[in-house]
Amino acid sequence: MTGLLKKILIIVVLLFTTLALYLNFILMPEYQGLKTGVSNYIIQSALRDTGSLNLITAVLYDYRAFDSLGESTVIFGAVSGIVLILSRKMLPVSSKGLSFIVKRTLGIITPFIGLFGLYVISHGHLSPGGGFQGGVILAAISIIFSIVYGSAFDYRRYSPQKKTILETGGALTFLTIGLAGLFFEGAFLHNLNFLTAEPGTLLSAGSIPYINIGVGFKVGAGLAIIFYSMIQKTFEEDY
């Protein structure tokens, strides 16, 4: 009875909050255009400042690189949390995988998926994409391995320890490049100007490609770890 009463109370409170917020929302004036404060400056001089053709990457890994460090740390924390809650000590029960045709086909396709992931990561400062997006593509490889070949195959090829090392290595790469900025240029996460080349080439834009690589491996390994902990079979007596 008290449970029902509490549920009704929660629903009433949430409805009232929604109503109040909606009433505030409809009072808002209509769209009057974007106020161009900082963004105007970035559009005009980001290429000159950072050497990155992709302005979003320039904002993510140069102007506001600390935010990106925080965001990738959020993923790191989420991975640790999911592993903490879902992990079991026993080995997962692996399936035998899908049919022979699927296995052979994906055996041919998988290297290209990896290549595409690496392309998206390494061209983050030149074309749309970057570490976060490319990392997700890399994580798909591990997921394909578990589904098509069975998770035991994935475990033997890329064990969770290896993935953890990759993930931590990616995070430490980001941090190390930040500290390198501190030593060489005088500010944490400052773009490393001595690495800059002509804009548009693959190894240009200072430290941005290297941060992209670090974030890519971190995100890829992190998502693979999340997938791996989720497919593990759980038993009731494990609690």
Binding site: V13, L21, N24, L27, G37, Y63, S80, G81, L84, F188
Partner: protein
Amino acid sequence: MDIKVLFLILVPLSTAFLIPLIDLINAKLRRFFVLLGILLESYLLVSIIINNFSELKKGDLFLQYHLGGWQPPLGINLVMDSLSLIFVVITALSLLLIVTYSIGYIGHHEGKYYVLYSLIAAASMGAILTADLFNIYVFIEMLTITSGALIGFKRSKEASAAAIKYLVYNILAGLLFFLAVLLIYFNLGTLNMADIALNFTTLSVQIKLFITAILLTSILIKMGIFPFIFWLPKSYDTAPSPVTAVLSGILSKVYLYIFIRIFWTVIGFKTLELLNLNSFLLNLALVSSLLGHIFALQSNNIKRLLAYSSIGHIGMIMAVIMLNSTAGFYGGILHIISHMFMKAGLFVSCGYLLQYTRSHAYRDFRGVGLKNRKVFIAFIILLLSMIGMPPLLGFASKWYVLIAFLEAQNYFGAFIVIFGSLTAVIYYLRYIAKGFEEAKLTDTELNEEIYSRPLLSVLYRGKIVSFISYTYTAIIILGGLSFRFLDLPLKISTLSVMNVEKYIELVLGG
């Protein structure tokens, strides 16, 4: 440009990144590694205080760091003024005490626990030190995700349910905060807090109202003020004791800091007055406080009771801050400090006391005081401080809160302070009496106790755990005897809250 301000965030962050690697080398090292990280942080803090002591005394401490070398409106900057300093100091002290406690308490899955703990340390430092609105959002997300995972640490059904509930409420709050940040950027074209504060008054009233409303909703959910208190007791109850101490001792205080920072520095109290929200918020906080104490009266579970009492105290702190007077801030910040140590100390000693009991329920509390007499006496002293007994720190802070309410002629607030203390006497005395009751186990109860799952898998190193309980008690007693030493930091932090123009000038000009 003070590099130490940056390293206050980077030290726990790199600790968190390095722990998985250290796990691969030697799993026993990580405890000392985490302790080393937090000790290094304390050292940095002490050196900051010593280096800038003369400025600190005059009340114009101001350190900032531009990340990436970009000047304020463009890049992110970290700012430490007197208000941040006092929050950073108490947070770092709590972190140090709770990590020592965790070494004694946490017996399994240590690796992931310490990763998440270090991330909480980094995120709370970052949320306090940053001067950029989006950066605050990033750190709030980090706090939510990591603490949500730690609430589910026991992996039982209840713990998972509480963690899911916590995450749903808090991610909703985070999204509302994100929406507010987006709207502010959309309308002002900047994310720097000082820059926003300078230009916020130029917006039209409707936009101001909507931004303020969603910011308020999100921060009220995070703090656990009345209409949004439902996630709080469950998650405090099911989380392991050190996590509960972090939740009530650190996270709620960090959110209070963000509340002060946003509604005094960024949006400005004048905007709240213009929108007629100040008296509404004051009364809402007082009602929340009243309800917290009333719910605590009917609670039959010690950890839930402490959670409800937390709601009462945080409501009271928010109300006294909403008075917007010097006395209000003085009392509010003093009560933030004292509540931080009292509540964390209570949860910490609860973790020791409840190790032999079947559940946290009232009937299982019987005989607890007789089994472990010393810790129970520390527990009673902390409870007396919560009630507001004279020589303890709780009395001093409650006294200043009461004076602030009387000065503002807010008699409802003064009534709530007294009412809270009086109800606290009733609901705490019940548990003290039960704790001293002789436990006579019948055969059926004994069987139940043997076959029921123990709440803690192991509590080895009990000495560290009881030592931390005594330390919290000592802090409360010594703080109560010498709370006048807190006079200077409280005064300068109050000054720095009220003097917004100086903050804006220093951030944008320096």
